[in-house]
Point group: D2
């Protein structure tokens, strides 16, 4: 599947990585999740991103994840794979494996743990591109990485064709808009928003697509939102976004005294998918915790309130 | 070499990883660097830490680094190896390789990229220890990791014997002291300071050892400081610390418009080692930049002013 | 002039405070500035806010500022006055003076310097309201204050009628939108955006008005943008916003090695107003610096490029 | 009382401001507090600082505070008064009043709310000094102010004689030590530490005095610590510091869900002073909360454990 400015658009959910009781990638659940997404009409899938717990996956898990995803998608839509790591050489190692397994594009952040400057960040992408010769999507996620892909950096990456698109999870709509302004002249360079809550606005401002984690739980909602916003039906897009904002409250049900922020959010996505009957197990990868019964009940209530009535009874074992 | 509360003390330099013109680990330079350190009387070495560019090393580089270091040290002192990565399973992968290659202990941070809570951080160390059955040193470096190993966490890790010691690079002397107070009763649990500039104070407060990056350049200075501070010769320790503070100014000669913070600091360590005739090449790992001539001249001046007159002419090729 | 949910809407520029050569408030320039704004059709004015250098004004300057503004506006539109200070009692002192001088509403932040929690922040507004018995507008500006007026806080302030509106300068469109959702049912509680660059989006999402600092320089532009966005003419609003984004680049011409961030931004607003012939002097209040000639020339260029050709020659004395 | 490099040394407690049931400054309690301090042998007092709730005091409270303190001290030791405000002109207003009421020196931070650069910060102190002609002490408290008085800034302030000393509440011992190194040659320029927990280390490194908030509760302890550390009796200084570290745990008994950080810390100081029979009322200034019974009991327990057995029964009304 070619990955270019025409194919990188629409709704590309950042999938969770289902885990089974032994801690292995749960291939059956992953296949059901992908089927669920394709049935909803998504335009691509993104595995091994932040929502996919990329930072917690070992080599075997990564391999199984990519193999299963590529096999299941079978060319229907582009498969993007995260090659997220601290440094250039390590990113290249991951990226080569992903490409060998059939990834249509790899998704790469700036180096982290170290503190590079903008020139060194551009050099990082230059080296990854040179080593790979395959589409690379730049990934701005300062909450995890600690630095920004500034408009200057993105403009240089785009103009030099070092990347084929951007996933923006900065939460900063001012710079997102500035990036849209600067890349507008570059033949439709795809700018994708990772925002769950400003998805309609992003599309209205000219973004080419959406890569929300919440689309795991409700791909149909984001597909409807994307269609409405793309066709200028603001009222419909707004209503869908408001409903999805309500749904997004599931990431806040967890007690942060007991469980960390990441586990609370990703655990809620997984819990909702269990409750909807898509995946079998709500656990997150070690060392993260999972939701407990009281929290699951709150997730179920929110699903109900947003029209996603759980398909299975509440007493299902989630954690 | 056993790694326990008796052997984890004294000066344990956090070594840089010399790189050659092809980007490979420069084994000859690494051997000379280790010989230089052992001749100065250091009590251990730490490879593959932050000063060793751990975040930038690929699998081959890591393997060569550990093999060369273990071979060169040959049991003379403990060899600590960084197993720094974002998640538990990935840390275990690195740690197993390091142990297989002869590491006496592995050095492990909290998970990063993700945002764990204290319970999940303790669980991380519990799982690493369980998988490894080999000494683990906890590593607190919030500037890179984004979270803290709080006194509560360290006390639990120490009391539960999940780790055999702590390397503190927090820069926060208040919590460092609190950790010393809390672990005092635990049979000499080793608390090591990564501070270049408060090394004498750390020892006077009861720290068991020092893991400074600057010891790459002047191991003799830190060994003298450690001995003086350990034996209560405050005036001598103070004078040595003042000289080393002057030497540490080499990390600030780089122009941060041109080069990132990490490259400016590690590049200065390497440049000084080139100027002192220990390693052959001052380059840092991709994608980081290296110092330029004007900056090298400043490093040389500071070496001269702190009694470490360069052994070789300035026109040596460094970058 | 009553200040309520009907009058708090539209464009309410956050005015700079013109200063003369002796450091006093330049009343003539202030009057010309207000005339310039009223002629453009603004719906209110806000003096003594962050753009008005409130943190730098002494008692005499504050008094002169409010008296002159109230006199010049003469009831044509509401006059909002900043009562920004670190604690409740100090805010009340300022607020009483402002009301005595004719302010239609006072604009109040959370306490700062101290670190209050949400309950204490609500208590702060409760006490200010009780002491004043006059309209209070809540002001969220975390970059200056260091804490947030969260959606929970704003909802409580609005529902309890402790404030008559919100000025949001958080830069965070996600929470801005959440606040709009939560206050929608409260009889048109006015939510005003301080954003220069997302003004059109804010209106499209349901904001009642705009309080941008950049409106000092181009009130006509923001009035056109507001009208277009309010009437659903998205293309026109978008075009106006794009031009104003270009104009906003004047805040980045200053060399931050020489001059601080605040002075660079407010100095640019003042320099542009000098160049447009509205105020006489581009100086900022002590201890801030002002722009230098090279920077002035850049401001003039940007004015020219955005259709605001300077009315007076460049050699005017600005600093 | 002259305030110079000879008189600015020793223990100078940063006093709380006792408040009565009507919210006025409780003069009797303040007098008892000052008598308590003088009896303990303190070398100066500091009123209207961060521990004195300076950010929350109105004009009347400030006036009463300074008059009462100056009258009670009666020249026995220097009286330092905080002139903390956001901008130069406002600081000068406060400082003039304080000097007129008998302050021996005023204590001044960098401007805040605005974002000045180092040059503008130096200019701020230059203007304050020029307007005042009276001793000014520079105050570095980045947790409240948001910027640093860097070693470069302090060195310039000291060398240009714009300030007569520094109070460092940065919590950063590395720069504190650098400042000591740089000012050593300047005829004993007094560098005072605001640290509760590194007071002994600060003195051992060459600091001239201590300005801890915790000295409100136990001035005798800090005087003993200062004497011991000054005379090289490290064991005694260390033991005193360890006991005071235990005492400092009172600032952490408050439930931060109910009460803000500042109120939790200052409320604990006041509660301890009530329990020790020195002041009458533990309330903090509006809008801050005060401790509740359960928290008071914890404070009493800690007082008991650190040898400061409460003089009065626990059922005293504190909040």
């Amino acid at each position: 599947m070619q990955c270019d400015s025409r194919s990188l658009r629409g709704v590309i959910p950042a999938l969770v990585t289902p885990i089974d009781g032994e801690g292995d990638v749960d291939k059956r659940s992953l296949e059901r999740l992908i089927r669920f997404q394709l049935d909803a009409g998504v335009h691509g899938i993104f595995v091994g991103g932040s929502s996919g717990e990329v930072a917690l996956l070992d080599s075997v898990q990564r391999g199984n994840l990519v193999k299963t995803a590529v096999g299941m998608v079978a060319g229907a839509v582009p498969v993007l794979v995260g090659a997220v790591d601290t440094g250039t050489r390590r990113v290249i190692e991951h990226a080569r494996k992903a490409v060998a397994l059939g990834a249509d594009a790899v998704v790469v952040t700036a180096p982290f743990y170290v503190r590079p400057n903008p020139r060194e960040i551009v050099e990082h992408f230059r080296l990854v591109q040179a080593a790979l010769g395959h589409p690379v999507v730049a990934y701005d996620i300062p909450s995890a990485v600690g630095s920004r892909l500034t408009p200057d950096i993105v403009e240089e990456l785009a103009a030099s064709k070092l990347v084929v698109g951007l996933k923006d999870s900065s939460g900063d709509l001012v710079t997102f808009r500035e990036i849209l302004r600067r890349t507008r002249r570059l033949n439709g360079f795809p700018v994708l928003s990772g925002s769950e809550l400003l998805a309609d606005v992003a599309i209205e401002l000219g973004a080419h697509g959406l890569v929300p984690g919440l689309a795991n739980v409700d791909p149909d909602g984001y597909v409807r939102l994307f269609q409405a916003a793309s066709h200028g039906d603001r009222a419909k897009a707004r209503a869908e976004q408001d409903r999805l904002a309500k749904l997004f409250e599931i990431i806040s049900v967890a007690d942060l005294g007991r469980i960390g922020f990441t586990a609370g959010a990703l655990g809620a996505f997984k819990a909702a998918l269990v409750l909807r009957g898509i995946i079998s197990n709500g656990v997150t990868n070690v060392p993260l915790s999972s939701l407990v019964d009281r929290e699951l009940a709150e997730v179920a209530t929110i699903l109900h309130e947003t029209g996603l009535a759980p398909d299975i009874p509440l007493q299902v074992e989630v954690a």
